[in-house]
Protein backbone atom coordinates (compact mmCIF):
# COMPACT_ATOMS: atom_id res chain seq x y z
CA UNK A 1 0.00 0.00 0.00
CA UNK A 2 1.32 3.41 -0.94
CA UNK A 3 2.61 5.69 1.77
CA UNK A 4 1.06 9.02 0.81
CA UNK A 5 2.79 11.19 3.37
CA UNK A 6 4.01 14.54 2.07
CA UNK A 7 4.99 17.95 3.40
CA UNK A 8 3.06 21.15 2.84
CA UNK A 9 5.65 22.35 0.35
CA UNK A 10 5.50 19.08 -1.58
CA UNK A 11 1.73 19.53 -1.90
CA UNK A 12 2.13 23.08 -3.15
CA UNK A 13 4.73 21.89 -5.66
CA UNK A 14 1.97 19.80 -7.23
CA UNK A 15 -0.22 22.86 -7.75
CA UNK A 16 -0.05 25.32 -10.63
CA UNK A 17 -1.07 28.90 -11.17
CA UNK A 18 -4.51 29.21 -12.73
CA UNK A 19 -5.85 26.07 -11.05
CA UNK A 20 -9.25 25.73 -9.42
CA UNK A 21 -8.62 24.72 -5.82
CA UNK A 22 -11.27 23.58 -3.36
CA UNK A 23 -10.71 24.14 0.36
CA UNK A 24 -12.67 22.11 2.93
CA UNK A 25 -13.96 23.14 6.34
CA UNK A 26 -16.52 25.87 6.98
CA UNK A 27 -15.97 29.53 7.88
CA UNK A 28 -13.38 29.58 10.63
CA UNK A 29 -13.68 25.87 11.32
CA UNK A 30 -11.24 23.06 10.54
CA UNK A 31 -9.53 24.82 7.65
CA UNK A 32 -6.26 23.38 6.26
CA UNK A 33 -4.38 26.51 7.30
CA UNK A 34 -0.85 25.09 7.10
CA UNK A 35 -1.55 24.32 3.42
CA UNK A 36 -3.14 27.74 2.86
CA UNK A 37 -0.02 29.39 4.30
CA UNK A 38 2.16 27.22 2.05
CA UNK A 39 0.22 28.58 -0.95
CA UNK A 40 0.63 32.10 0.39
CA UNK A 41 4.43 31.81 0.52
CA UNK A 42 4.60 30.17 -2.94
CA UNK A 43 4.55 32.01 -6.25
CA UNK A 44 1.19 30.47 -7.21
CA UNK A 45 -1.24 33.04 -8.58
CA UNK A 46 -4.42 33.44 -10.64
CA UNK A 47 -6.19 30.80 -8.53
CA UNK A 48 -9.90 30.04 -8.49
CA UNK A 49 -10.80 29.13 -4.91
CA UNK A 50 -13.96 27.15 -4.12
CA UNK A 51 -14.81 27.31 -0.43
CA UNK A 52 -17.29 27.72 2.38
CA UNK A 53 -15.08 30.68 3.00
CA UNK A 54 -13.23 31.70 6.12
CA UNK A 55 -9.72 33.04 6.66
CA UNK A 56 -8.51 30.81 3.79
CA UNK A 57 -10.40 33.05 1.38
CA UNK A 58 -9.58 36.22 3.32
CA UNK A 59 -5.83 35.52 3.26
CA UNK A 60 -5.55 34.35 -0.34
CA UNK A 61 -7.70 37.15 -1.79
CA UNK A 62 -6.04 39.87 0.30
CA UNK A 63 -2.67 38.60 -0.91
CA UNK A 64 -3.83 38.89 -4.54
CA UNK A 65 -3.58 35.15 -5.19
CA UNK A 66 -7.05 34.74 -6.67
CA UNK A 67 -8.72 35.55 -9.95
CA UNK A 68 -12.02 34.09 -8.78
CA UNK A 69 -13.73 32.79 -5.67
CA UNK A 70 -16.83 30.59 -5.64
CA UNK A 71 -18.49 30.80 -2.23
CA UNK A 72 -21.73 30.81 -0.29
CA UNK A 73 -20.33 33.13 2.34
CA UNK A 74 -16.99 34.25 3.74
CA UNK A 75 -17.10 34.48 7.52
CA UNK A 76 -14.94 34.11 10.61
CA UNK A 77 -17.99 32.88 12.59
CA UNK A 78 -17.31 34.77 15.83
CA UNK A 79 -16.57 37.75 13.55
CA UNK A 80 -19.47 37.38 11.10
CA UNK A 81 -17.96 39.35 8.19
CA UNK A 82 -14.42 38.40 7.08
CA UNK A 83 -12.74 41.84 7.09
CA UNK A 84 -9.96 41.05 4.62
CA UNK A 85 -12.43 39.64 2.13
CA UNK A 86 -14.71 42.65 2.62
CA UNK A 87 -11.87 45.01 1.85
CA UNK A 88 -11.07 43.06 -1.32
CA UNK A 89 -14.68 43.02 -2.49
CA UNK A 90 -15.29 46.67 -1.64
CA UNK A 91 -12.09 47.69 -3.34
CA UNK A 92 -13.11 45.83 -6.49
CA UNK A 93 -9.87 43.88 -6.16
CA UNK A 94 -11.27 40.43 -6.88
CA UNK A 95 -11.56 40.03 -10.66
CA UNK A 96 -14.36 37.49 -10.54
CA UNK A 97 -16.57 35.70 -8.06
CA UNK A 98 -19.64 33.51 -7.87
CA UNK A 99 -21.75 34.01 -4.78
CA UNK A 100 -24.22 31.15 -4.30
CA UNK A 101 -26.82 30.04 -1.84
CA UNK A 102 -24.87 27.96 0.70
CA UNK A 103 -27.12 24.94 0.16
CA UNK A 104 -26.79 25.25 -3.61
CA UNK A 105 -23.03 25.23 -3.05
CA UNK A 106 -23.39 21.75 -1.52
CA UNK A 107 -25.05 20.61 -4.76
CA UNK A 108 -22.15 21.94 -6.87
CA UNK A 109 -19.79 19.83 -4.75
CA UNK A 110 -22.05 16.81 -4.96
CA UNK A 111 -22.39 17.12 -8.74
CA UNK A 112 -18.62 17.18 -9.11
CA UNK A 113 -18.22 14.25 -6.68
CA UNK A 114 -20.80 12.23 -8.62
CA UNK A 115 -19.44 13.27 -12.03
CA UNK A 116 -22.73 14.65 -13.30
CA UNK A 117 -22.88 18.11 -14.92
CA UNK A 118 -25.33 19.61 -12.42
CA UNK A 119 -27.84 19.02 -9.67
CA UNK A 120 -31.20 20.76 -9.77
CA UNK A 121 -32.64 22.88 -6.99
CA UNK A 122 -35.29 25.50 -6.41
CA UNK A 123 -32.75 27.66 -4.53
CA UNK A 124 -31.87 30.79 -6.45
CA UNK A 125 -35.11 31.28 -8.35
CA UNK A 126 -36.22 34.88 -7.84
CA UNK A 127 -32.96 35.95 -6.18
CA UNK A 128 -29.85 37.79 -7.35
CA UNK A 129 -28.02 34.47 -7.24
CA UNK A 130 -29.45 33.87 -10.73
CA UNK A 131 -29.57 37.40 -12.08
CA UNK A 132 -26.00 38.22 -11.00
CA UNK A 133 -24.52 34.93 -12.24
CA UNK A 134 -25.57 34.80 -15.89
CA UNK A 135 -23.53 31.63 -16.38
CA UNK A 136 -26.03 29.78 -14.18
CA UNK A 137 -28.69 28.00 -16.21
CA UNK A 138 -32.07 26.55 -15.42
CA UNK A 139 -33.46 23.18 -16.50
CA UNK A 140 -37.02 22.07 -17.05
CA UNK A 141 -38.14 18.88 -15.40
CA UNK A 142 -38.56 16.17 -18.07
CA UNK A 143 -41.46 14.74 -16.08
CA UNK A 144 -45.11 15.79 -16.19
CA UNK A 145 -44.75 18.67 -13.77
CA UNK A 146 -42.45 20.57 -16.15
CA UNK A 147 -41.07 22.62 -13.25
CA UNK A 148 -38.17 24.96 -13.93
CA UNK A 149 -35.21 24.50 -11.59
CA UNK A 150 -31.74 25.95 -11.23
CA UNK A 151 -28.96 23.66 -12.52
CA UNK A 152 -26.08 24.10 -10.10
CA UNK A 153 -22.99 23.24 -12.16
CA UNK A 154 -20.46 20.70 -10.93
CA UNK A 155 -17.52 22.37 -9.18
CA UNK A 156 -14.76 20.64 -11.05
CA UNK A 157 -11.59 21.24 -9.07
CA UNK A 158 -8.00 20.54 -10.04
CA UNK A 159 -7.02 20.11 -6.43
CA UNK A 160 -8.71 19.98 -3.05
CA UNK A 161 -7.19 20.72 0.36
CA UNK A 162 -8.70 19.37 3.59
CA UNK A 163 -7.83 19.13 7.25
CA UNK A 164 -8.91 16.17 9.37
CA UNK A 165 -8.39 15.26 13.00
CA UNK A 166 -6.78 11.90 12.17
CA UNK A 167 -5.49 10.14 9.08
CA UNK A 168 -3.47 7.08 8.26
CA UNK A 169 -0.54 7.18 5.87
CA UNK A 170 -2.66 5.51 3.17
CA UNK A 171 -5.01 8.47 3.03
CA UNK A 172 -8.02 7.45 5.09
CA UNK A 173 -9.31 10.41 7.08
CA UNK A 174 -11.29 10.77 10.30
CA UNK A 175 -13.19 13.75 11.71
CA UNK A 176 -13.77 13.81 15.47
CA UNK A 177 -15.64 17.10 15.85
CA UNK A 178 -19.37 17.69 15.66
CA UNK A 179 -19.57 18.30 11.89
CA UNK A 180 -17.85 16.87 8.83
CA UNK A 181 -19.11 19.85 6.82
CA UNK A 182 -18.78 18.79 3.16
CA UNK A 183 -15.25 17.47 3.21
CA UNK A 184 -16.12 14.01 1.88
CA UNK A 185 -17.69 15.60 -1.19
CA UNK A 186 -14.73 17.93 -1.59
CA UNK A 187 -12.41 14.92 -1.44
CA UNK A 188 -14.35 13.07 -4.13
CA UNK A 189 -14.69 16.18 -6.29
CA UNK A 190 -11.00 16.99 -6.50
CA UNK A 191 -8.94 15.69 -9.42
CA UNK A 192 -6.23 15.53 -6.76
CA UNK A 193 -6.98 15.71 -3.05
CA UNK A 194 -4.47 16.57 -0.35
CA UNK A 195 -5.41 16.08 3.27
CA UNK A 196 -3.59 17.38 6.30
CA UNK A 197 -4.36 15.91 9.71
CA UNK A 198 -3.60 16.68 13.33
CA UNK A 199 -2.06 13.27 13.68
CA UNK A 200 -1.21 10.36 11.42
CA UNK A 201 -2.05 7.14 13.21
CA UNK A 202 -1.99 3.44 12.47
CA UNK A 203 -5.10 2.27 10.63
CA UNK A 204 -5.96 -0.13 13.44
CA UNK A 205 -6.16 2.78 15.89
CA UNK A 206 -8.98 4.66 14.12
CA UNK A 207 -11.77 2.99 16.08
CA UNK A 208 -10.02 3.78 19.34
CA UNK A 209 -10.33 7.46 18.40
CA UNK A 210 -13.99 7.54 17.41
CA UNK A 211 -16.94 5.49 16.15
CA UNK A 212 -16.99 4.09 12.65
CA UNK A 213 -19.22 6.96 11.44
CA UNK A 214 -16.28 9.33 11.80
CA UNK A 215 -14.33 7.54 9.06
CA UNK A 216 -15.71 9.64 6.23
CA UNK A 217 -12.73 10.20 3.95
CA UNK A 218 -11.78 7.02 2.07
CA UNK A 219 -8.25 6.71 0.73
CA UNK A 220 -9.53 6.12 -2.83
CA UNK A 221 -10.00 9.88 -3.00
CA UNK A 222 -6.84 11.06 -1.31
CA UNK A 223 -3.53 11.59 -3.08
CA UNK A 224 -1.41 13.02 -0.32
CA UNK A 225 -1.42 13.17 3.48
CA UNK A 226 0.34 15.82 5.52
CA UNK A 227 0.84 15.47 9.26
CA UNK A 228 0.17 18.95 10.63
CA UNK A 229 -0.46 19.25 14.37
CA UNK A 230 -2.24 22.58 14.95
CA UNK A 231 -2.68 22.55 11.19
CA UNK A 232 -6.06 24.30 11.35
CA UNK A 233 -4.92 27.02 13.74
CA UNK A 234 -6.33 29.71 14.23
CA UNK A 235 -9.57 28.12 13.07
CA UNK A 236 -11.20 25.59 15.37
CA UNK A 237 -10.48 21.88 15.21
CA UNK A 238 -12.48 20.24 17.96
CA UNK A 239 -11.93 18.12 19.96
CA UNK A 240 -8.21 18.78 19.45
CA UNK A 241 -8.53 22.55 20.03
CA UNK A 242 -10.99 25.40 19.79
CA UNK A 243 -10.67 28.56 17.74
CA UNK A 244 -7.87 30.88 18.84
CA UNK A 245 -10.13 33.91 19.21
CA UNK A 246 -7.37 36.27 20.33
CA UNK A 247 -5.26 35.36 17.33
CA UNK A 248 -8.25 35.65 15.01
CA UNK A 249 -9.05 39.12 16.38
CA UNK A 250 -5.46 40.15 15.71
CA UNK A 251 -5.68 38.80 12.16
CA UNK A 252 -9.00 40.57 11.58
CA UNK A 253 -7.76 43.90 12.92
CA UNK A 254 -4.98 44.01 10.33
CA UNK A 255 -7.54 44.44 7.54
CA UNK A 256 -7.77 48.11 8.41
CA UNK A 257 -4.11 48.90 7.94
CA UNK A 258 -1.86 47.74 5.06
CA UNK A 259 1.26 48.06 7.22
CA UNK A 260 -0.20 45.98 10.02
CA UNK A 261 -1.29 43.39 7.44
CA UNK A 262 2.19 43.22 5.91
CA UNK A 263 3.65 42.84 9.39
CA UNK A 264 1.18 40.12 10.37
CA UNK A 265 1.92 38.24 7.16
CA UNK A 266 5.64 38.42 7.78
CA UNK A 267 5.33 37.57 11.47
CA UNK A 268 2.96 34.63 11.09
CA UNK A 269 1.55 33.73 7.71
CA UNK A 270 4.73 33.69 5.66
CA UNK A 271 6.97 31.82 8.09
CA UNK A 272 9.08 29.34 6.16
CA UNK A 273 7.34 26.20 7.44
CA UNK A 274 4.55 24.90 9.62
CA UNK A 275 7.19 23.80 12.13
CA UNK A 276 8.37 27.41 12.41
CA UNK A 277 4.77 28.55 12.86
CA UNK A 278 4.18 26.01 15.61
CA UNK A 279 7.40 26.95 17.34
CA UNK A 280 6.34 30.57 17.30
CA UNK A 281 2.90 29.66 18.64
CA UNK A 282 4.57 27.78 21.45
CA UNK A 283 6.60 30.85 22.30
CA UNK A 284 3.36 32.76 22.42
CA UNK A 285 2.14 30.13 24.87
CA UNK A 286 -0.70 28.87 22.77
CA UNK A 287 0.29 25.49 21.51
Amino acid sequence: MADKRMTEDEVVAELESGMTIGIGGWGSRRKPMSLVRAILRSDLTDLHIVSYGGPDVGILTAAGKCRKVTYGFVSLDSIPLEPHFRAVRQGGLLPDFMELDEGAFYLGLMAAAHRVPFYPTRAGLGSAMLSENPELRTVTSPYGDGEELVAIPAFDMDAVLLHMNRADEKGNGQFLGPDLYFDDLFAMAGTKTYMSAEKIIATEDFLREGPVHTLKIPRTHVDGVVEAPMGAHFTECPPDYGRDEAFQREYAATAKDPEAWAQFRADWLELESHEAYRAKLEERGQA
Binding site: F73, R86, L100, R122, S127, P178, Y181
Partner: protein, 255 residues
Amino acid sequence: MSDTTEATLAEICIVALAEAFRGDGEVLCNPMGPVPVIAGRLARATFEPDLMLTDTIAYAIEGNLPLGGDPSDAVVESYMPFRTIFDQVWSGKRHVVMGAPQIDRYGNQNFAAIGDDYRKPKAQLLGMRGAPGNLINHATTYWIPTQVRSFVESVDVVSGPGNDTIASLPEATGRFHEIRRVVTDLGAYDFETSDGTMRVRSLHPGVTLEQAQEASAFELTVTGEVPESRLPTDEERHLIREVFDPNGVRNGEFR
Protein backbone atom coordinates in the same frame (compact mmCIF):
# COMPACT_ATOMS: atom_id res chain seq x y z
CA MET B 1 -41.41 35.06 39.76
CA SER B 2 -38.67 37.19 41.21
CA ASP B 3 -38.64 40.00 38.66
CA THR B 4 -41.94 41.61 37.76
CA THR B 5 -40.69 44.95 36.45
CA GLU B 6 -42.19 46.19 33.23
CA ALA B 7 -41.37 44.37 30.03
CA THR B 8 -38.47 45.83 28.06
CA LEU B 9 -38.44 46.45 24.31
CA ALA B 10 -36.22 43.38 23.80
CA GLU B 11 -38.72 41.23 25.67
CA ILE B 12 -41.65 42.54 23.66
CA CYS B 13 -39.73 41.79 20.45
CA ILE B 14 -38.92 38.30 21.70
CA VAL B 15 -42.59 37.61 22.36
CA ALA B 16 -43.57 38.99 18.93
CA LEU B 17 -40.98 36.70 17.32
CA ALA B 18 -42.13 33.73 19.39
CA GLU B 19 -45.66 34.40 18.11
CA ALA B 20 -44.37 33.88 14.56
CA PHE B 21 -43.91 30.19 15.43
CA ARG B 22 -47.46 29.73 16.73
CA GLY B 23 -49.11 26.89 14.85
CA ASP B 24 -45.88 25.59 13.33
CA GLY B 25 -46.11 22.23 15.07
CA GLU B 26 -43.34 19.76 14.38
CA VAL B 27 -40.78 21.71 12.33
CA LEU B 28 -37.17 22.69 12.80
CA CYS B 29 -37.29 26.18 14.27
CA ASN B 30 -34.02 27.74 13.17
CA PRO B 31 -33.53 31.25 14.54
CA MET B 32 -30.29 33.18 13.95
CA GLY B 33 -28.98 35.57 16.61
CA PRO B 34 -29.68 35.96 20.33
CA VAL B 35 -33.15 37.59 20.30
CA PRO B 36 -34.58 35.10 17.76
CA VAL B 37 -32.95 32.14 19.56
CA ILE B 38 -34.57 33.20 22.85
CA ALA B 39 -37.87 33.59 20.97
CA GLY B 40 -37.71 30.08 19.51
CA ARG B 41 -36.85 28.51 22.85
CA LEU B 42 -39.61 30.54 24.50
CA ALA B 43 -42.22 29.42 21.96
CA ARG B 44 -41.31 25.77 22.56
CA ALA B 45 -41.33 26.18 26.35
CA THR B 46 -44.83 27.66 26.25
CA PHE B 47 -47.34 27.32 23.42
CA GLU B 48 -45.50 25.41 20.65
CA PRO B 49 -44.04 22.34 22.38
CA ASP B 50 -43.41 20.24 19.27
CA LEU B 51 -40.81 22.56 17.72
CA MET B 52 -37.34 21.17 17.17
CA LEU B 53 -34.42 23.46 18.06
CA THR B 54 -30.67 23.17 17.73
CA ASP B 55 -27.84 24.07 20.06
CA THR B 56 -26.73 26.36 17.16
CA ILE B 57 -23.85 23.93 16.51
CA ALA B 58 -24.79 20.48 15.24
CA TYR B 59 -27.33 18.92 17.59
CA ALA B 60 -31.08 19.15 17.99
CA ILE B 61 -31.62 19.43 21.72
CA GLU B 62 -34.47 19.17 24.17
CA GLY B 63 -35.07 21.32 27.21
CA ASN B 64 -34.50 24.95 28.04
CA LEU B 65 -30.86 25.68 27.23
CA PRO B 66 -29.83 29.22 28.21
CA LEU B 67 -28.09 31.43 25.64
CA GLY B 68 -24.43 30.47 25.60
CA GLY B 69 -25.23 27.54 27.89
CA ASP B 70 -23.19 24.36 27.66
CA PRO B 71 -24.93 22.15 25.09
CA SER B 72 -23.37 19.09 26.67
CA ASP B 73 -25.81 19.61 29.55
CA ALA B 74 -28.72 19.22 27.14
CA VAL B 75 -30.51 16.11 25.97
CA VAL B 76 -29.66 15.51 22.31
CA GLU B 77 -32.64 14.29 20.29
CA SER B 78 -31.16 14.38 16.80
CA TYR B 79 -28.06 15.18 14.77
CA MET B 80 -28.17 18.36 12.68
CA PRO B 81 -24.85 19.02 10.97
CA PHE B 82 -24.94 21.57 8.16
CA ARG B 83 -25.63 18.97 5.51
CA THR B 84 -28.73 17.78 7.35
CA ILE B 85 -29.82 21.40 7.79
CA PHE B 86 -29.76 21.88 4.01
CA ASP B 87 -31.65 18.62 3.48
CA GLN B 88 -34.13 19.88 6.05
CA VAL B 89 -34.46 23.20 4.16
CA TRP B 90 -35.30 21.42 0.93
CA SER B 91 -37.69 19.03 2.66
CA GLY B 92 -39.62 22.05 3.90
CA LYS B 93 -39.94 21.18 7.60
CA ARG B 94 -38.24 24.34 8.77
CA HIS B 95 -38.98 27.92 9.79
CA VAL B 96 -35.98 30.23 9.77
CA VAL B 97 -35.43 33.67 11.31
CA MET B 98 -32.89 35.80 9.49
CA GLY B 99 -31.78 39.42 9.59
CA ALA B 100 -32.52 41.99 6.90
CA PRO B 101 -30.24 45.02 6.57
CA GLN B 102 -32.59 45.96 3.71
CA ILE B 103 -36.19 44.90 3.15
CA ASP B 104 -38.82 46.40 0.85
CA ARG B 105 -42.60 46.63 0.78
CA TYR B 106 -43.01 43.14 -0.70
CA GLY B 107 -40.51 41.52 1.62
CA ASN B 108 -37.56 41.35 -0.78
CA GLN B 109 -34.56 41.06 1.54
CA ASN B 110 -30.90 41.87 1.12
CA PHE B 111 -28.10 40.84 3.43
CA ALA B 112 -25.56 40.17 0.65
CA ALA B 113 -24.08 43.56 -0.23
CA ILE B 114 -24.98 47.26 -0.07
CA GLY B 115 -24.47 49.68 -2.96
CA ASP B 116 -25.41 50.14 -6.60
CA ASP B 117 -22.62 47.94 -7.94
CA TYR B 118 -22.80 44.36 -6.74
CA ARG B 119 -19.42 43.67 -8.36
CA LYS B 120 -17.86 46.43 -6.25
CA PRO B 121 -20.20 47.04 -3.34
CA LYS B 122 -20.03 49.88 -0.84
CA ALA B 123 -20.36 47.27 1.87
CA GLN B 124 -19.92 43.54 1.46
CA LEU B 125 -22.26 41.88 3.96
CA LEU B 126 -22.94 38.18 4.51
CA GLY B 127 -23.31 37.09 0.90
CA MET B 128 -26.23 34.96 -0.24
CA ARG B 129 -25.79 32.56 2.68
CA GLY B 130 -29.01 30.51 2.87
CA ALA B 131 -31.53 33.16 1.84
CA PRO B 132 -32.34 32.06 -1.74
CA GLY B 133 -32.92 28.46 -0.69
CA ASN B 134 -34.72 29.26 2.55
CA LEU B 135 -37.24 31.61 0.99
CA ILE B 136 -38.22 29.30 -1.83
CA ASN B 137 -38.55 26.25 0.38
CA HIS B 138 -40.17 27.09 3.71
CA ALA B 139 -41.44 29.75 6.12
CA THR B 140 -39.17 32.71 6.86
CA THR B 141 -39.41 35.42 9.50
CA TYR B 142 -37.19 38.49 9.66
CA TRP B 143 -35.81 40.14 12.79
CA ILE B 144 -34.85 43.79 12.33
CA PRO B 145 -33.61 45.61 15.45
CA THR B 146 -33.58 49.07 13.79
CA GLN B 147 -36.51 49.47 11.41
CA VAL B 148 -35.60 52.94 10.19
CA ARG B 149 -32.35 51.65 8.69
CA SER B 150 -33.80 48.57 7.05
CA PHE B 151 -37.19 49.50 5.56
CA VAL B 152 -36.08 50.74 2.14
CA GLU B 153 -37.79 51.74 -1.09
CA SER B 154 -35.92 49.04 -2.99
CA VAL B 155 -33.17 46.61 -2.02
CA ASP B 156 -29.78 46.79 -3.75
CA VAL B 157 -29.58 43.02 -4.24
CA VAL B 158 -32.30 40.42 -3.70
CA SER B 159 -30.93 37.64 -1.51
CA GLY B 160 -34.36 36.55 -0.22
CA PRO B 161 -37.12 37.02 -2.80
CA GLY B 162 -40.28 38.86 -1.76
CA ASN B 163 -43.90 38.37 -2.73
CA ASP B 164 -43.87 40.44 -5.95
CA THR B 165 -40.75 38.62 -7.16
CA ILE B 166 -42.33 35.25 -6.44
CA ALA B 167 -45.60 36.32 -8.12
CA SER B 168 -43.64 36.96 -11.32
CA LEU B 169 -42.42 33.33 -11.39
CA PRO B 170 -44.38 30.23 -12.39
CA GLU B 171 -46.82 29.17 -9.70
CA ALA B 172 -45.06 25.88 -9.02
CA THR B 173 -41.80 27.71 -8.26
CA GLY B 174 -43.25 29.74 -5.42
CA ARG B 175 -45.56 27.21 -3.86
CA PHE B 176 -43.50 26.82 -0.68
CA HIS B 177 -42.66 30.52 -0.30
CA GLU B 178 -43.98 32.19 2.85
CA ILE B 179 -42.73 35.28 4.62
CA ARG B 180 -44.46 34.75 7.90
CA ARG B 181 -43.55 37.83 9.89
CA VAL B 182 -41.24 40.80 10.17
CA VAL B 183 -40.50 41.96 13.71
CA THR B 184 -38.74 45.28 14.35
CA ASP B 185 -38.03 47.60 17.25
CA LEU B 186 -41.35 49.33 16.45
CA GLY B 187 -43.79 46.58 15.66
CA ALA B 188 -44.69 43.30 14.03
CA TYR B 189 -45.64 43.05 10.37
CA ASP B 190 -47.10 40.35 8.16
CA PHE B 191 -48.14 39.92 4.54
CA GLU B 192 -51.75 38.92 5.07
CA THR B 193 -52.82 41.26 2.28
CA SER B 194 -54.35 40.66 -1.14
CA ASP B 195 -51.44 42.37 -2.95
CA GLY B 196 -48.56 40.84 -1.00
CA THR B 197 -47.52 44.10 0.65
CA MET B 198 -46.31 44.40 4.22
CA ARG B 199 -49.07 45.07 6.73
CA VAL B 200 -48.83 46.43 10.24
CA ARG B 201 -49.86 43.54 12.44
CA SER B 202 -49.21 45.18 15.80
CA LEU B 203 -47.24 48.09 17.20
CA HIS B 204 -45.14 47.87 20.34
CA PRO B 205 -46.46 49.78 23.37
CA GLY B 206 -46.01 53.53 22.95
CA VAL B 207 -45.36 53.40 19.18
CA THR B 208 -47.81 55.28 16.96
CA LEU B 209 -48.67 54.44 13.39
CA GLU B 210 -47.13 57.76 12.35
CA GLN B 211 -43.84 56.83 13.98
CA ALA B 212 -43.83 53.42 12.32
CA GLN B 213 -44.61 54.98 8.94
CA GLU B 214 -41.93 57.63 9.43
CA ALA B 215 -39.39 54.88 10.03
CA SER B 216 -40.19 53.30 6.66
CA ALA B 217 -39.21 54.37 3.14
CA PHE B 218 -42.28 52.58 1.75
CA GLU B 219 -45.95 52.86 2.55
CA LEU B 220 -47.06 50.47 5.26
CA THR B 221 -50.34 48.71 4.58
CA VAL B 222 -52.90 49.11 7.33
CA THR B 223 -56.12 47.11 7.51
CA GLY B 224 -58.48 48.22 10.27
CA GLU B 225 -57.52 48.91 13.85
CA VAL B 226 -53.87 48.11 14.65
CA PRO B 227 -53.52 46.33 17.99
CA GLU B 228 -50.70 46.79 20.49
CA SER B 229 -48.08 44.03 20.54
CA ARG B 230 -48.83 41.78 23.47
CA LEU B 231 -46.72 41.90 26.61
CA PRO B 232 -44.95 38.83 27.93
CA THR B 233 -46.96 36.82 30.42
CA ASP B 234 -45.50 36.36 33.89
CA GLU B 235 -44.31 32.92 32.83
CA GLU B 236 -42.69 34.27 29.66
CA ARG B 237 -40.98 37.07 31.56
CA HIS B 238 -39.62 34.56 34.02
CA LEU B 239 -38.38 32.25 31.27
CA ILE B 240 -36.68 35.08 29.37
CA ARG B 241 -35.06 36.70 32.39
CA GLU B 242 -34.17 33.75 34.58
CA VAL B 243 -33.87 30.79 32.24
CA PHE B 244 -32.90 31.71 28.68
CA ASP B 245 -30.99 34.95 29.07
CA PRO B 246 -29.91 35.62 32.64
CA ASN B 247 -27.02 37.77 31.38
CA GLY B 248 -29.16 40.16 29.39
CA VAL B 249 -27.56 39.45 26.01
CA ARG B 250 -30.91 40.38 24.43
CA ASN B 251 -30.42 44.06 25.17
CA GLY B 252 -27.23 44.24 23.11
CA GLU B 253 -29.04 43.98 19.79
CA PHE B 254 -30.43 47.50 19.83
CA ARG B 255 -27.95 50.12 18.69
